[in-house]
């Protein structure tokens, strides 16, 4: 207690506004969202409870199932490709190349753009009527076809393409910082032992920068769950329902379809999914940290 009041009181005091914001804005909103998801509210909140009825409706809806499976495809591909691209770019940067600052800016630049701008730019570039396809055909290649954005079974990959373009620069920046933190002596030692450079990167450097990679993964995972603006700007969920995602389903039901309770049930399901991913990750990192101490 003495310790608390003596040296650390000001720390807790400084944290107080943050805690108030977290409790009022975040926790209570989440609780309220959950409570409403248990009612049959349509447009305005009414507190007539029918418990998990909305969840039952939600899970039975084909639109929700499609949205979830789209999100899984998008999420897995986006995170995997971003990590690989980001890692390769970081390694290339790490070779002390000339004009490093220039390339770093170029690669990181897309991240400075919002998803809405990213989506619109790619929508125009890929539109078969006036984008790449039309341009190449204009050059005389009449049979050139690149219209994935309007093909129901391909459009999800276009979403991945645009998101990777935007996100891989961030992964590069994080991993590059990790690479720069690797001890120089380690490199000298491996050179003396004559170990191939790729082997050093995969077997020695990668485990060292694993926490960095984990951070990047969490950041990417968050943007996957949030994916809404990119979809709206790039494909509007189409063609058909090929690129519908849960966040868009929630937003649509919230106001346009005047079904607040169902939308909130969807939002809670998204939260549950995030927790299901983050909790094991948290324990894995704690376990690894403990092992490192031993």
């Amino acid at each position: 207690m003495a310790k608390f009041s003596g040296t650390r009181a000001h720390v807790y005091l400084a944290m107080l506004p943050v805690w108030i914001i977290v409790l009022v804005a975040l926790v209570s909103s989440t609780v309220w969202t959950f409570v409403i998801s248990l009612t049959n509210s349509k447009l305005l909140p009414v507190y007539k409870f029918n418990f998990f009825h909305q969840y039952e409706l939600l899970l039975k809806q084909p639109a929700w199932q499609v949205a979830v499976s789209n999100l899984i495809v998008f999420g897995v591909l986006f995170i995997a490709i971003c990590l690989v691209f980001g890692f390769v770019m970081a390694i290339m940067m790490d070779q002390r190349i000339r004009g490093e600052a220039f390339f770093r800016t170029v690669f990181l630049y897309p991240y400075a753009m919002s998803f809405v701008v990213t989506g619109l730019v790619w929508q125009w570039v890929l539109n078969p009527g006036f984008g790449i396809q039309a341009a190449v055909r204009g050059l005389g290649f009449e049979n050139f076809t690149f219209d994935w954005i309007v093909q129901p079974d391909r459009a999800i990959y276009i979403l991945v393409l645009a998101a990777v373009w935007q996100g891989s620069g961030l992964v590069m920046a994080i991993l590059l910082a990790g690479l720069r933190g690797v001890d120089e002596d380690l490199w000298k030692a491996t050179r003396i032992d004559g170990i191939a450079k790729w082997r050093v990167y995969t077997s020695i450097v990668l485990p060292i920068i694993a926490p960095m990679a984990a951070t990047a993964t969490v950041l990417l995972a968050v943007s996957v769950v949030k994916a809404y603006d990119l979809v709206v700007a790039l494909t509007g969920g189409g063609p058909g329902n090929a690129t519908e995602v849960p966040a868009k389903f929630v937003m649509e039901n919230l106001f346009a379809r005047q079904n607040v309770a169902l939308a909130n049930a969807g939002a809670i399901m998204m939260l549950v999914a995030v927790i299901a991913i983050l909790v094991p990750m948290y324990y894995a990192r704690r376990y690894m940290a403990q092992k490192a101490e031993v």
């Binding site: 349509k42 305005l44 009527g129 309007v150 494909t235 039901n253 005047q258």
Partner: protein
Amino acid sequence: MKTLSLAFATTAMAALTTGAATAQSAEVIHWWTSAAESAGVGVIADAYGDTGGEWVDQAVAGSDAAKTSAISRMVGGNPPDAAQFNLGADIDNLVDSAVLAPIDAVAEANDWASVMPQAVLDAVTRDGHVYGVPIQLQGTNFLFASADALDKVGAGMPQTWDEFFETGDKLREAGIVPFAQAGDRDVWFMNTFQAVLASVLGTEEWGQFTGPDGAEFVRSEAFRPVAEIMAKLPSYADSGVSGRQWNITNQMILNGEAGFFIMGGWAIGEIGAAGLTPGKEVLCGVGPNHAPLVVAGDVWAMPAKGDGLTEAQAKLAEVTTSVEVQAEFTSTMGSLPVRSGVDTSKFNACAAAGAKAISDGNSVMALFINFSPEKLGALGSELKVLWVDPDATADDYVETVAGILENY
């Protein structure tokens, strides 16, 4: 829970209150933001200003965003004086939640019952009380055609769907996209479906589709042509439908890149804006088959502030529905008046076709009027899915539409 929502209400109120309102100021949320639209809303604002009131404009781009803003302010306890909603079932949930003030006094004083079409009055009446001020009506099923494109293949405006598809085949051979479809929002697929539905059903059978036995009707022979046309239509469109905004799609008609386009009356304004004349370079009519005009509209919903209607709200309701404002407002917007006694001689060819259909009694109320937003949303998204499925048959359309009518 109550204290919690109270806390939310207080926070929202503190954040949103912009200053003490005077007795006669009216704060109005609407989604009229394009050039022609803001000129139109200016007509109402000026007329309201002339009565000594102060108009506080809250324009929010996009109908969904504007409604969201209005609803969250009602929930938060700081409602605007009036907010734009779609005519029809859009206000049902607001009426059920008892957040709107009845406008009966104004409706009676101005004899709405005799100057407004019965269907319009019905669309704003719940349990015998009037809960919305009709602002304008809008035809949603105009068939636009590029005169240039039709000239090239020597065709005129089609009178039947068979003629439509015949001309479509010729257009395709001439390298012109036969049918332009907008695809960035689900509602455009619903709109095209609605236009086809009206052209096949006419005024007589329309009620059977929107009525309680709708699903049964959809499975009957009478509905069959609708499904067949819907299954055929996507093959007459180009590949760029997905994600394309309606105004970009409209450009295809203005440039002569496409032959036909089905869209609401709001597209008429774009023709003039492009320096073209409706009825000359761009032909228009109300669907093939002598289709009835499918009428949608907008209303002011007036949230209750204390006891009943405030003075400002009553005045706004009166001004909006007056003959003078209706005449100037609708001609600026390219829409149709909500009442009789308005001079329609200044209308362009397209708007006049719509006005004539209404005065001839050849009109039906749009699906927005009867169907809940949930039902309409489901219909739009299912139709969008069928549109991109090259294997979708007429049977698929029948089953999908019947399923939605049963389930929502």
